[in-house]
Amino acid sequence: MTMLNLTPTELERYRRQIMLPGFGEEAQQRLKASTVLVTGVGGLGGTAALYLAVAGVGKLILVRGGKLRLDDMNRQVLMTQDWVGKPRVFQAMATLRALNPDVEIEALCEYITPENVDRLVQSSDMALDCAHNFGERDVLNAACVRWGKPMVEAAMNDMEAYLTTIIPGQTPCLSCIFPEKPNWDRRSFGVLGAVSGTLACLTALEAIKLITGLGEPLLSQLLTIDLSRLEFAKRRPYHDPDCPVCGHADKQAVAHPFTPPLLLTRG
């Protein structure tokens, strides 16, 4: 694998996390060598991107269409009020660059589509699925399965959320867990920034674990979260052997088995 040397500035900047048992300079180098795709850069994806940027992930690809609205400001912590009406993904890039100039950032003011998804997934080591609609989520899930890239699935509604880490061929994919999607109005529920932010921190942590080998990622486990009562539970989601999306990924995975840490599989 390609290990990148850390500069004296990086060694100082990340000193407190390098101290963590099981982390060390090697984990930091793995982060530096990684590219993470983040979709739906809003209350969830934007905050997850923030924690990946300050942790020293080498490159972030931020994908989010649309312009900032005033009613985004209760949770989209990368945004500033003077940016309302402008494409939010460029403000996200500017804030992250100011926080950590060592992180390379690519920002696309687009939604995830069948046309752009393959290039984006192929350019990344893993993806965070933080879009605000099922369409983008399904397209990203299928592409991650197609290219054998891990995907952290994080979604919320009101005070509830769920999280799981998908490794194609090893774990259930999003389509195994939810083969169909409901008619769902993305503006029909309330959201507190502290709720999307809580889920975002856990999402970023899953990515960091997968990249570095720290701790145990949520593989084949669905963490359900009810923040109104602070109930957290891990459940075993269904892995469908006949899944139309990943049903054949098991066989492909034999040729390219994924072993955390993520970058061990790189040439």
Binding site: F134, N157, S228, A233
Partner: protein, 91 residues
């Protein structure tokens, strides 16, 4: 068989805003009928017109997805916890 059912927020309008409901039933099927009796209207959200469970909702008995078990015919024990987890897409 007394069973605790965890209700997700979007369905709590059927449960008078309660996040948990105590129900009876020896199987998931019987539980759905018991739930409909105490919370009228909820079953149509969980099952389609032909009575099949909707595929955008997961049902877990304790921590196990019922598709690993016997689906709607999964047997329930006294004290089991049944969780209803719908697909959501909020970011």
């Amino acid at each position: 068989m007394a069973v605790k059912v965890l209700i997700p927020t979007p369905l709590q309008k059927f449960t008078r805003d309660q996040a948990t409901v105590e129900c009876n039933g020896g199987t998931i099927n019987e539980l759905l009928d018991s739930l409909e009796q105490s919370c009228p209207g909820i079953k149509a959200r969980l099952c389609d017109d032909s009575g099949e469970l909707r595929r955008f909702i997961n049902f877990y008995v304790n921590s196990e997805d019922i598709r690993f078990l016997e689906g709607k015919n999964t047997a329930l024990q006294e004290g089991d916890e049944v969780s209803i987890v719908p697909a959501v897409a909020g970011g």
